[in-house]
Structure formats: C-alpha cells, structure tokens
C-alpha cells in the first residue's frame, strides 16, 4: 500500500524541490559551526511559527523544535536533522545554484537535511499527508565533533513523552541507511613542550617529530579483524614556520570497533603511550577523551529497516547500509528504533566546494514521506 503510493509521491514532490532548495540556500548562508547554531535555529523557528506548528521554540541548548499534531496524537515520532556544520564563520557560505546542482560549504552536511525539516510541514499540508501520530521536528545543535550530540541528548533526556521511532535526515547520500551504531571513541592528544625546556638537550626534535613518532606507535598497535576495528587519524595541528621548532602539536583521532571492550582497551593503550612519551621527552603529552558511543542498534530484519530497504528498492535506489556514530547512536542508546536516511547525492563532502544534486531531492523526499507513513502505521514496532 505504502509502496504503491510512492509513484504518486514522486510526481507530487517534484513541485517542492525548489522550495526545499531555496530553504537550503538560506539555511546554508547562515554560518553555524558547532556551538554557534543559534542563528540557524532562529531561522527555522520562524519557519515553524509561520507554519503554525505547535510549541515552536528554541531550547537552552539552541535546539529548535516544533510539533505537527497527529489526528490521534497518542504517539510521537521524532524527525531530526543536525543544524551545525563543519565550517566556521569566516568561510564564505554563499551557495551557487547550477541547473543540476547546488554548491557551497555544508550544503550536504547538513543544510539540506535542515531545509527538509523546515519545509516538511508545508509539504505535508500541500500534499494532504496527515498522520495519526504527532510528528516532532527537531533541528539539533552541538552534534558534530566536540558537540558530541549534546543537543539531541538534551532533548532525549528532557522531552516529556517517549518517542515511538526516529528518522535522522542527512543531505547525502541517497540510499544510505544507518540503523546501528558502532563503538566509537574520539580522542585528542596534545603535546606541549614546557617553557623551561632545555633545547640543548640531545634529541630535541620538536613537537611534530615526536607526534609523528607517537602516530607510528599507535599504528603499530595490532588491531583484530574480528570484531572489526580501525583507528582513524583525522586531524593534526602543529608548527608555525619553516625553521622554528614547534612546541605544540595536537592530534585528533577516532577509534571505531564493533566491540565496546576493544574501544576501551585501545584508549587505555593510547593513554599509556602518551604517558610514556611524557617521561621520555620531557614534553607534556595529554590524552583527552572527547566523545564515546556504545555499539548497538536494531537488527537488519527489524520492520523499520525492512520497510526502509523496500522503499529504496521501489525507488530504484540501491540501499547502502552503514553503521553510524551520529544522531542515530544517541537514539539507539535510549532504545528508540531509529534510522538515518540520505536525501540526495553529492560530492566533495566536507570541502568548501561541497555539492548536492538537485534532481534526486524529490526521490529523497518521497522516501521520507513513505517512511513516515510506514512508521505511522506501526512498522517501527516489532511484533
């Protein structure tokens, strides 16, 4: 029944692609690095108020929330899109629209997701989609990096009613389905040479070389093939010029594993390496845990995941099942059946020239409408 309606949705939703695009441009041009999402939240709360949603408001963590009341209203379904972006305010956030794509820093991650959230009430009203359950729309703050999903966690801890299920919106990539979370730990290693350091000491090579040594030591740690485990060296900062020995360095990394124990074990070993380097070099090497996720999620055969795959297949999109460490992880921790979907395809994710394709957005919207309807009809409940 739901799958049959997809063809109609596809035709109807063609008309709303530009509404979503225009909202996406306006969202994207409001810079919103993590912890500075307030202006974006205000833009969305204005949208929610204009559309006469219930309880349109911004909370103390700068989350924006609004409710589309259901016909029955006995259950609450959560739709969430994170508002923060990877780019700071100094980056030119201007979007360029070409006939086939939109280009600009953060358009896919996650201005498109936030734009769909902001236009969803308008679209549902125009196509006459009414649900029995209440639909709670959340633009979440403090999601990325050091934010560590703080906004969403705050809502989950303080919202007065349980959520039946949740859908997380990400701009790219269409076909993506994430319903499980891997074990994850984000860590930061800082290396600081104290002011009183004796540079005449043999082997004084500076922060970069020592940090390089540290990276090699981390990479030498044997990782099991099962459960699957990796360490990603994501970001490094060090040095000021060609010929000055750097006194500070910072390394950001992520440990990912299907096993929570292995994540903890690796963190302990890296901490030990940091202490060892402190004693060997006289520099101060510190390990700091920034974020942690426990592995978990629903099964492949969970009805929510099954219908999500069927919807994609009906739309001729190959499902790509990937575990996630983003919003879905916080939902899983609370025992809420949740899934992350992508809304279109794109390129250069995380780069200033990030782009999203315009045409597939209607498929992304059709996927979302069908999924909402399926959840409303009870498919998130395991029998």
């Amino acid at each position: 029944m739901i799958l049959e309606e997809l063809d109609d949705y596809l035709v109807q939703l063609e008309d709303f692609r530009e509404t979503v695009l225009s909202t996406m441009v306006m969202v994207n041009e409001i810079p919103a690095p993590t912890f500075k999402e307030r202006n974006r939240a205000e833009f969305l709360v204005d949208r929610f108020s204009e559309l006469e949603m219930l309880n349109a408001s911004i909370d103390e963590k700068d989350n924006v929330l609004g409710i589309i009341p259901g016909k029955v209203g006995d259950r609450d379904i959560l739709i969430v899109a994170h508002l923060d972006s990877l780019f700071n305010e100094t980056v030119d956030h201007t979007v360029t629209l070409e006939p086939s794509m939109a280009i600009g820093p953060g358009v896919g991650d996650n201005s498109l997701g936030a734009a769909v959230l902001g236009t969803l009430p308008f679209i549902m009203e125009r196509i006459g989609l009414e649900l029995d359950a209440n639909l709670v729309l959340l633009g979440s703050s403090r999601s990325l990096g050091r934010g560590d999903l703080e906004g969403l966690r705050f809502v989950l801890d303080n919202y007065k009613r349980p959520f039946t299920a949740a859908v997380c919106l990400e701009g790219i990539r269409l076909g993506r389905l994430s319903f499980s979370s891997i074990g994850m730990l984000r860590g930061e290693l800082t290396y600081r040479i104290p002011e009183e350091y004796d540079w005449t000491k043999f082997n004084s090579v500076g922060a970069i070389v020592d940090m390089n040594d540290m990276i090699n030591r981390i990479l030498e740690i044997p990782l099991p093939r099962k459960p699957k485990t990796t360490i990603v060296m994501g970001q490094m900062e060090a040095g000021t010029s060609y010929n000055t020995l750097p006194t500070k360095a910072k390394l950001r990394f992520e440990i990912r594993s299907e096993s929570e124990e292995i994540v903890s074990e690796l963190a302990t070993r890296i901490n030990f390496l940091a202490e060892e380097m402190t004693s060997k070099t006289g520099a101060k090497v510190e390990f700091k845990e920034i974020a942690r996720r426990r592995p978990g999620g629903t099964d492949f055969s969970h009805p929510l995941n099954t219908i999500s795959r069927e919807i994609l297949k009906r739309l001729d999109i190959k499902p790509r099942i990937t575990p996630s460490s983003s919003e879905v992880a916080a939902l899983i921790e609370k025992g809420i059946p949740a899934i992350t979907i992508g809304l279109t395809n794109g390129e250069n994710a995380g780069e200033p020239e990030e782009s999203v394709l315009i045409k597939p957005i209607s498929k992304g919207l059709a996927q979302l409408m069908a999924l909402l309807k399926a959840i409303d009809m009870g498919c998130a409940n395991e029998s």
Partner: protein, 330 residues
Amino acid sequence: MNLNKWIEDNTYHHSAFADLKELVEQKEKSGLTISLCIPTLNEERTIGKEVVIFKSELMNRYPLVDEIAIIDSGSKDRTLEVASSFGADTYLSEEILPEEGSKRGKGENLWKAIYQLKGDIIVYIDADIKNIHPRFVYGLIGPLIKRPEVSYVKAFYDRPLAFSDSIRPSGGGRVTEILTRPLFSLFFPELTAIIQPLSGEYAVRRNVLEKISFPVGYGVETSHLLDVYQTHGMKAFAQTDLDQRVHRNQETRALGKMSFGILQTFLNRLYSYGTIQSDYEIQTVLRQFQVQNEKYETVEYNIPEYERPPMITIPAYRKLRGLPPLKDKK
C-alpha cells in the same frame, strides 16, 4: 523640508514587512499586482539562486509576486539557461518592442520591462547579489502596499557587521559619496535624504514609471530620482534598509565610466529643467590614461547617455494597455 523628519517618516527596515502573510492579505485587498524584473548580462553564477529563492518564497509559499522575469542584454554565458531551468520567464531585451530598435545598457532592459511585465508595481533587482534573500523584494514592496501615497521605494544597505562607535557614517558607495550626493547638495538638497541613490534595487508604481524617460546606461537611477522628484516631490519616495548586500566590487576606472554617464544625465536634466542655461553641447567621450612601455597614452570611451522616452508615449504600449493613440504633433 526638514530632512531628518523626512528620513524618520519614510525610512524603513525590511523587518517591518517580514510578516508576509499579512503583506499578502493587504496586497490582495488592494487588488495590486506585482512583477519582479531582474535585468541580466552574464550572471550565470548568481541568477539561479535569485530565481529559486524569489519564486519559492514569494510566489509558491506566499503569493506576493505575480511574475518573475529575466530581461537579458544578450549574455554570452548560461544566464538564460540557468534562469529558465529554475522556472523564470526569460526575455531577450532586443526581442521586446523590436520596432523601437535595441540599445545596449541596463536602462534599456528596465524600460522594456515596463512593456513586457504586467504588474501595477515593478520591482527591479540586480542579478549580481551573492547573499540574495526574499527581504530584497518584500522590503521594497512593503511601503507601496501599506502607503498608497508612496510611489518609489529605494533600497539602501546598512548595518556593518561591527562598529565600535555609537556614531558612524552611513551612506552609499564611492560614486554616491564623491559625485551624486555633492551634486544633489548643490542643486536638489532634499534628494540627499535618499541614502543610496544609486542602488540598483527599487520598486515603483507603473503609473509613475511609464511617465518617465530612461537613460539606457549608467544614468538611469539618477534620472529616475530627479524626474520623480520634479513631478511629485519627496512625498513620492520611501527607502528601506535591506541590511548587507554582497556583490562584486568594481574597479576605480569602471566607476569613472559610471560617474561620467551619471554626470551627463545630471547636466542634461539641469538644462531641461531650466535650472542652468547654456548652449554648450555636452561631450560624450571619456578619456582615461594608461602607461605602456613607459609611455602615457589616452584611452577614449564613447559613453553617450541615450534616453528612451516615457513608455506611455510608445504606440505599442498604449495599444497594449488600452490607451488611445497619441495625436501626432504637427
């Protein structure tokens, strides 16, 4: 006239008109129709965004604007393809009123828009705005919908991102402050209250637009202000702060050409109003200099400020609007 009082009564911030639902209701009550004209020449990088935002926000979500038209001067890039792919009506300037011939210049597009577009109010928005937002349109339309006595609403851009003192200079760009405002101060002091007389964004009632002539080049904004002021006085004007406008900055030499065109228009107006009298025929060649192999040489630009007559005098327009033909002057 007390200029400070005029500014206080006639200067708005776009946020005063941000309640689009209310604005649409008032528009519908008044029975006004509104057309948006974007004159273009090689604007493929910015035109798509302008069309999408205006169309979806001001036509689909809130039916404030009745039509959006691109009037193009013959772009060599994909301006028209991009604009039409997002659903704008696109026109080549030279194909509108072909019997009147074709001139090059933005003013030509603005003039032809009066014939081509249907609205009682025409809003002109430049195509090179990087930070486009619906406020650029509703901020200009607002005063016209709410105040029937206002006929011409001009944009200005203010609110610097940071300013440490409580008093700050407020004004236009380089040409405004070096040329236009001094000229207005000399001859039309009341017009100095218009904060950015050269801004390319304004909304005007058709019954005013159709009666003024249009220089096709740089002088079009200046001539509008002078002619509307001559006929209606300051009561016809209002202005709206649209916050920041991000656009390409022009080189000083290009501003020299612009100033030359504006100055021609201004002087011609002074003669035609009888403000100053002279038989001197104004020159149309601007001379600038460049150095090549340590030799100074003149570069000459012929910048004639050709003017289109008031649209209401054009036979095809009169026919289109159901007006009786003008009697031939004998």
